[in-house]
């Protein structure tokens, strides 16, 4: 693609087709890891930021981005990783939060500042029965971004997307 005019919305909508490798119901755009798109000397530069420093899915996301954009006709793609500003769950949209909940993952509750100060909430809403009567089982869940909770009403154990 030789057009030097960059249609960011169009490219974003293509990237929106890429699911998060670990939580396939939301896209990598909804996750908030795509930070910018620029076009220089026939190279499309995609700026991304990692969710967690050691998130093993980042590599997969990079490869998926390159594959998708190759399919769309871009041959020169450069992935630029930035750390500032640091990724935060505040970037996850309301729509994506609803998708998480329907998928069985409790979305982040409250603000990251409060969480940093007070720790994880004592109870979060169970994504299955919507009861607030739950307790934390472990600060660390199936992936770096999640904690493990247990609903005391329906007794289901569920993932909570940590607020950072």
């Amino acid at each position: 693609m030789n057009s030097s005019v960059l249609n960011k919305d169009q490219i974003l909508s293509w990237l929106h087709e890429i699911p998060d490798p670990e939580i396939p119901v939301i896209s990598i755009v909804e996750l908030g890891v795509i930070r910018d798109l620029t076009f220089n000397d026939n190279t499309l530069e995609v700026t991304i930021t990692p969710t967690y420093s050691g998130c093993p899915a980042m590599k997969q996301m990079e490869e998926d981005v390159i594959k998708k954009l190759n399919e769309k006709g871009f041959s020169k793609i450069n992935i630029n990783t930035v750390y500032e500003p640091a990724w935060t769950t505040d970037w996850i949209s309301a729509e994506a939060r609803l998708k998480l909940q329907n998928y069985g993952i409790a979305p982040p509750e409250g603000s990251r500042d409060k969480t940093a100060l007070m720790g994880e909430p004592k109870s979060v809403t169970c994504p299955r029965c919507k009861s607030k009567n739950s307790e934390m089982v472990s600060q660390f869940g199936s992936t770096a971004c999640k904690a493990l909770y247990k609903c005391k009403d329906c007794l289901e154990v569920f993932d909570y997307f940590k607020c950072i």
């Binding site: 990692p50 967690y52 420093s53 050691g54 998130c55 093993p56 930035v82 750390y83 500032e84 640091a86 990724w87 940093a116 720790g119 089982v137 472990s138 600060q139 660390f140 869940g141 199936s142 992936t143 770096a144 493990l148 940590k162 950072i164």
Partner: protein
């Protein structure tokens, strides 16, 4: 200046890398599933942070060394990790107390580094602070649980304390020339961090009925890449595959 920053980056990235290698040995062997997941996640955070730091160090050095080359093709006399990070896992009390000592230190250090005049370092540090906050909450809660649990758990914590305490002083040893980095606003003064760290650890251990001893002999040497006998074994295991197959790709 770049050479000095390079060495400083090795000091902090090696510490994370070696501790991550140590605690990842618990994967599949944790006392129960949630703890197994917790330690694996913490190890991942540390590996990830070290990757970012080593990648940056390689760029600064300008010799084309990648993060992998820096991690897998240096021997122990070129590793600058803190001695405490290479100490054996021992039992779970020892693993958690080692983690608490390091987490408290890192939270103070990385909070200061997030204000560094070096913007890349500041950005990596700011991200790490979020993660270390979780690590510290986890390790501190375990130390308190051991200290106030049963006689058995208290004894284990106390034994771990005697084992590890003499390696804590080494975290506050600066590398040669570090004062220049402090003067230029690149890195914080370790003496200041030491004062805060001692207060935090004293409070933690008092809650566990362990009193800090005075005038204990402190090991040192890692700032000059001098290590205990453990590091060589860790590197042998960690580096064997890339050294046997240097061209191997994932």
């Amino acid at each position: 200046m770049n050479e000095l920053v390079f060495k400083y980056l090795l000091r902090i990235s090696d510490s994370g890398l070696i501790l991550a290698q140590r605690i990842s040995a618990w994967t599949g062997h944790g006392p129960f599933l949630e703890e197994d997941l917790a330690l694996t996640n913490i190890a991942l955070d540390l590996f990830g942070r070290s990757r970012s730091l080593l990648d940056y160090a390689g760029n600064l050095e300008g010799k084309g060394r990648s993060e992998d080359e820096l991690a897998f093709f240096r021997n122990e006399r070129h590793y600058y990790n803190h001695l405490i990070c290479e100490q054996p896992n021992g039992d779970y009390a020892q693993t958690m107390l080692r983690q608490a000592f390091v987490d408290a230190f890192e939270l103070l250090l990385y909070t200061e580094l997030s204000k560094s005049k070096d913007q890349t370092l500041a950005a990596i540090a700011a991200k790490s602070v979020k993660e270390i906050t979780y690590h510290k909450r986890h390790s501190f809660s375990w130390v308190k649980r051991f200290g106030n649990g049963t006689q058995e758990s208290f004894t284990r914590l106390q034994n771990a304390f005697h084992e590890l305490w003499p390696y804590t002083g080494d975290m506050f040893e600066p590398i040669e020339g570090e004062t220049d980095l402090v003067k230029n606003g690149f890195v914080p003064d370790l003496q200041k961090i030491k004062t805060d760290w001692e207060k935090i650890i004293k409070d933690l251990l008092e809650e566990c009925n362990i009193r800090l001893p005075e005038n204990v002999y402190m090991h040192s040497g890692s700032a000059k890449a001098l290590h205990t006998e453990h590091l060589g074994f860790i590197l042998a295991e960690m580096q064997s595959l890339p050294r046997a197959y240097p061209e191997a790709k994932w």
